[in-house]
């Protein structure tokens, strides 16, 4: 019961903090002080109190976009184990529902973007669906590997099964898996080198350009939902990359929170030292990630 409460409060409260940490890390690299860690929370509160501007071309689809996206992400977040703690809801086949819930949220984000009739948002939407279609097989290769290792078909068992021992017995495939999943994490959340979350107005943008016309509370939902997606996919990644176990329930929660903070710092470092890829290179990197995870699967099947 306490674990469930902690799970829900972490899911609801922690995601914007990751964005704050990423921002602070990037500022440190650039030699700036940077915005406070809690800046994303302030932004969200501010946005929720702001008025909205709606484009004349938009319809109910535009308004439904952020709502459905946030709801689908929230439901997906209840299926993911955090650290060594199983998810509050866990059943056979939940990993497929998990993947398809993100598909649902993508459908509505892109539909809302197309509803504005702007060519820029159309471009962003086209890129978003094309790239994430290439990410899907990577995720499923990784899920097959995890299912094979843990002999289980629930996300919680698959991800909490990993332990430091696995890194010794199946180190090579774990390394490939971590590499592929990190690329997936960055691509799905539109971070550098796939997309730059700090600029809005360039022809090369993906996620940010899709939400150009959203404003006020709706934009707040979008930012919150995006942060939550980063948190959820990050939690999956950290479960595989850093399967540290303390033995005590509270200790595991501590390990998880520290792990997520480390992940945010890592993303901040990647964003500071790398430039964005040219758009035509992105599919190549995504297909490379798919092949990496396919290799990981082969090594585990062997």
């Amino acid at each position: 019961m306490i674990d469930t409460i902690i799970h829900f409060s972490l899911i609801l409260l922690m995601p914007p903090l990751l964005l704050g940490i990423i921002g602070k890390t990037k500022a440190a690299f650039a030699g700036r002080v940077g915005a406070p860690f809690l800046q994303p929370y302030y932004d969200l509160v501010k946005l929720l109190q702001k008025g909205s501007v709606f484009s004349e071309t938009t319809t109910w689809v535009f308004r439904a976009g952020p709502v459905v996206t946030l709801a689908a992400t929230l439901v997906a977040a209840t299926l993911v184990p955090l650290g060594n703690h199983s998810a509050p809801i866990s059943f056979t086949g939940d990993m497929i529902l998990f993947a398809y819930l993100f598909g649902l949220s993508r459908f509505f984000t892109t539909a809302a973007a197309l509803d504005t009739g702007s060519s820029f948002e159309g471009m962003g939407a086209a890129r978003e669906v094309t790239f994430s279609c290439l990410v899907e097989p990577t995720l499923f290769f990784a899920l097959i590997s995890l299912a094979r290792m843990s002999k289980s078909l629930t996300l919680s068992t698959m991800l909490t099964y990993t332990s430091p021992g696995i890194w010794i017995t199946a180190g090579a495939s774990m390394l490939l898996l971590v590499g592929a999943l990190f690329i997936t994490l960055l691509a799905e959340n539109c971070r550098i080198p796939f997309d730059d979350p700090n600029t809005h107005l360039e022809l090369t943008m993906i996620h940010e350009v899709m939400v150009l016309d959203h404003s006020g509370p709706a934009f707040g939902y979008i930012l919150y939902g995006a942060a939550m997606k980063l948190f959820v996919l990050g939690a999956i990644f950290m479960n595989i990359a850093l399967p540290a176990r303390t033995g005590s329930s509270l200790g595991d929660w501590g390990v998880f929170v520290v792990g997520m903070i480390l992940l945010a710092v890592l993303i901040g470092v990647v964003e500071s030292i790398m430039a964005r890829l040219r758009l035509i290179r992105i599919p190549q990197l995504l297909i490379a990630a798919t092949i990496l995870s396919a290799f990981a699967m082969l090594l585990i099947l062997r």
Binding site: G51, S55, I89, T110, L114, G117, G122, C133, L153
Partner: protein, 687 residues
Amino acid sequence: MSYDTSFHSDIYGMHTHTESFMAAGWQTTDYLFAGMVASVVLFGISGLPGLFIKKPGWGQLIATGICVIAALLGTGTAVQTVVTGSSTAGYLIDWHLPFGPCEFSADPLSALFLTPLFLASGCCAVYAVAYWPAREHPGSEKKLTFFFGLLSAAMALVVLARNGVVLLIAWEIMALSAFFLLTTDQRDPDVQRAGMVYLIATHIGTMALFILFAMLRGTTASFAFPVPHSLSPDLGVATVILVTALIGFGAKAGIMPLHIWLPSAHANAPSHVSAMMSGVMLKIGVYGIIRTVSFFSLPPAWLGWLILCLGGVSALSGIALASAQRDIKRLLACSSIENIGIVFIGLGMALIGIQTNTPLLAAFGLTGCFIHILNHALFKPLLFLGAGAIIHATGTREIDRMGGLSRRLPRTAPLFLAGSLAICGLPPLNGFIGELFLYLGAFNDAISSPLPALALVAPLLALVGGIAVITFIKLFGTIFLGSPRSPEAAHAHEPPLAMLAPMSLFALFCLIAGICGQLLLRLVTPAVASYAQLPPAIIDRMESSVPLASFTLLNLSLLLLILAIGLFYTRQTVKLPCATAATWGCGYLAPTARMQYTGTSFAEMASNLFAPFVTVSRSGPSLSGPLPAAARFCYATTESILDRVLIPVFQAIGLAFSYLRRMQHGQMHLYMLYIFATLFVLMMWRH
């Protein structure tokens, strides 16, 4: 007369006596079977009164009334038969024709295919009243109404037939009615060409079926279907029978590379006919393959893998083709190839499971296959009927000329959205449930099998699902969102209730089936158990290992959460100031609707990635000098398999035959010489 299929050999001695039938007392299954037969007869005769009534419109209304009654009766009895799971109340007409008595019967497998058939026929008949009204089409309406009923009846007969020749007769009636339906608009050259390609393709398929049933007759000495699981797969003719079944029935199902007739036929037929062809007629092909395999005691090892590979190729290339289309109905037709591919993946998985004696795999594969068949028969007619409403409203099939229709067609838009979400397999709609079973089959194989090659189905399905999202976001977005790209789109109008009601019914079923996956499972498990001869324990194990109740719970909580956040958002926006302005054009001052991303530009990136399946031809202007002349840019996507493989092959064959044609010169005396020479050679050979 009712009988048990197990004493097939005795049938010939028996005669039908309706009186004794009545005296013996009817069982429930007899009533159910009689209901289905009555429904078939009603569909068959539904168009007849219209042929004799002079006053336009009355014939169509009478036909629709009969079709609705037939659909209610047929769907009810078919669902009952499926759920009770008791097989084969039969009916036998012992006529004195050379191919033996004419037998019909319905087991859970037949009833499973009949359920969507009757439902879709009824809905499409209602739709036709508003879509193809007799007032506006006095010439073609009678023909359309008559053949529509005949098509439904013939498809049902194919599924009910238990005799090869009877099946072929029904098959031919079905194929020809479909031809007359799709050439309704016969003055249009596109329609003529599509009709011709369809006619040739369907007859190549029929030719393979003639070989199939001749071979079966050679094996069992009767045109009656062999008792299920009675033939040995090691027989020499087994391979021939199965391959001809794959060609003959597969061509009707539209699997790659036998799909060439499909996109143009579905695109050029009236929309409710496309809905029937895509939603139901393709499945009759799948039924044929499933039925043929059931004659054998064990499917041979190669068959499962072949079907699985064909399914994988069809799914991937079908959806890649669909993503590049600009014609709304051609896009939906290509996506049918994808969905048939998914059905084949499930079937292949099941056959591999049966062959390798892994019953759980067989159960997962077959359940996924059957559920997807039902699902596709719900959302594909919904989308085709929606496409009809859009074409009705705008007068064009080109999606790049549409846009902003969700304002003009506020009721059609959410229905079409529901269909799009369902076909992408997204929760909480029904497409998800079928794919779930296939995924679980693949994952189970990944866990338990020593060499889990089947596990690769999961990433493949994921990729196909991803491309489906591209395709249907493109379709929905280009048609309904943004601003109108042409005056036709700007003045579109909502379709009448007779068109909206069938679509709403399909959408409602999609939602109910998506939330309560148990209903779908309940429908297919009897057929799965009887077809794969699985003991109840295996079915129970599969049912208990897939907690559909949890999926229902999460789907419901998803809907509730959407509702709650939506309400919260509306309350917030009411309180806060709210303004409207033009879409932010990134500083550009005079944006026009033509600057919007079109469907083609939306899918351009994806089509480049799927270059093996989709060829892109660009004819661009070459600009030179400071003041280049007016130029024209043309971008078209074509189909690789047709253009690069089939057309060159057919051209080579045509060239070879052109030499043979020189012998055909019309000079009678030389023809007589040919006959003499042939006879002479044969005589020399004999002695």
